[in-house]
């Protein structure tokens, strides 16, 4: 059976877990201008830091119980004994989550960026950054939620947050680089490189951790 389709079906039916993070993201984005007085200049100043942090937060929300449900109802045991490549399944699952949550959030961040800065160039460049960083965050938080499978997501967040911080710093640098039009490509490539390492390593680590949990 096609795993992609099944995961898609599961996520689509769990509206709370699919739409929830996206809505939280949008709400933060809408709430932001209200907290600053409506001065265009001030809005732009803090917008991007807020953007990255809200992407981080919504990714954390999205992965909160990515494995918890399967763990509680016994699906994980079934898959481990029946499927030959568990890491591959995890990689697919993360991809589905990115496709269903990460990409919409990246699109929305493009729209909000356009709406606030009124600068198409910057917003177009922010879009790939958002795509890549949402995927990285998703992987990291999947790692965290696997670690804290039976302890709630806060523990996982504590452990994975330090790993996400360098990415946040690079993102901050990236926006500055875009605004001044210098070497943003390097930073994008740096993110892409770390993404490729993370994509390939996280599924294996996570599958090991989950097997350790099931023992």
């Amino acid at each position: 059976m096609n795993v992609f389709y099944l995961e898609y079906l599961k996520l689509k039916k769990k509206t709370r877990h699919w739409i929830g993070p996206i809505i939280v993201f949008i709400l933060i984005m809408i709430a932001y201008p209200l907290t600053v007085e409506f001065l265009e200049k001030d809005l732009e100043k803090g917008f991007y830091s807020l953007l990255w942090i809200s992407i981080l937060l919504s990714m954390m929300l999205a992965t909160e119980d990515i494995f918890l449900e399967d763990y509680n109802d016994g699906t994980l045991e079934q898959t481990i004994i029946s499927i030959s490549s568990f890491p591959f399944l995890i990689a697919k699952k993360i991809f589905i989550y990115w496709f269903m949550i990460g990409i919409p959030i990246s699109l929305f961040s493009f729209l909000f960026s356009l709406g606030i800065t009124k600068n198409l160039n910057i917003s177009l460049l922010v879009f790939p950054f958002a795509m890549i960083c949402s995927y990285i965050f998703l992987n990291l938080f999947v790692f965290g939620s696997a670690l804290s499978l039976n302890k709630g997501s806060v523990l996982g967040a504590i452990i994975t947050m330090p790993l996400a911080l360098p990415v946040l710093i690079v993102l901050g640098k990236g926006v500055i680089a875009i605004q001044f039009g210098i070497n943003y490509l390097e930073l994008l490539l740096l993110l892409l490189g770390s993404l490729s390492i993370i994509i390939t390593s996280v599924p294996f680590i996570v599958s090991y951790i989950i097997k350790a949990h099931l023992e």
Binding site: L6, L9, K10, E69, N72, D73, G74, T75, I81, E215
Partner: protein, 190 residues
């Protein structure tokens, strides 16, 4: 042809310095049923998980022929509460099975195909989970407490089904508190 499906020699299991069982030796051939009994906490489920290969044993060796061809039903039934019955069957790849309708009718589930699983009763959910056992074609069936929550009819149905499967040369491992008269071997963990 070798008919041995499971061959375990001197398995011991110990977790965090707590010893559950020690030096168990057993084997299982085609057409045999192994009934694992024992008091609560004696390690029945753990033994099943060792046979499945989820938990490694501390000592000893266990050999399972054809590791990937096992049908397993644990006390967690692997059903998604927010999906309908037919969607759940699809998750397990059973929605197009040729015998599906026969078993659905026998288990009184045919009316509930579009009902969300969370709204079914416990016994109905158990029956739905058992469908996976009925529709499988693997040589080794492993069941953890299969009779809990079933009514008399369903109990007899499951029992007869398992007896029929044994005749066709399959092997069954199950844990249960109640005797259900299909076993050919009993393993009692104190």
């Amino acid at each position: 042809m070798n008919t041995e499906l499971i061959k375990a020699e001197n398995i011991s299991f110990k977790i965090n310095e707590n010893r559950l069982f020690h030096n168990l030796t057993f084997s299982l051939n085609k057409g045999e049923a192994l009934h694992i009994t024992g008091s609560n906490g004696s390690g029945k489920s753990t033994l099943i998980r060792i046979i499945l290969g989820i938990t490694p044993q501390s000592k000893g060796s266990i050999m399972i022929i054809n590791n990937n061809n096992i049908c397993y039903l644990g006390h967690k039934n692997a059903l998604k509460g927010y999906l309908s019955v037919i969607d759940n069957l699809m998750l397990h790849g059973l929605n197009n099975h040729k015998d599906l309708n026969y078993y659905l009718e026998k288990l009184d589930l045919i009316k509930f195909l579009d009902v969300v699983v969370a709204n079914l009763s416990f016994g109905q959910q158990k029956k739905l989970a058992l469908l996976r056992v009925f529709l499988n074609d693997s040589d080794l069936i492993i069941l953890d407490e299969p009779f809990v929550g079933l009514d008399k009819d369903a109990h007899d149905f499951v029992k007869n089904f398992l007896l029929k499967e044994l005749e066709t040369g399959k092997a069954i491992v199950y844990t249960s508190h109640i005797d259900c008269e299909i076993e050919s071997k009993v393993l009692n963990l104190q």
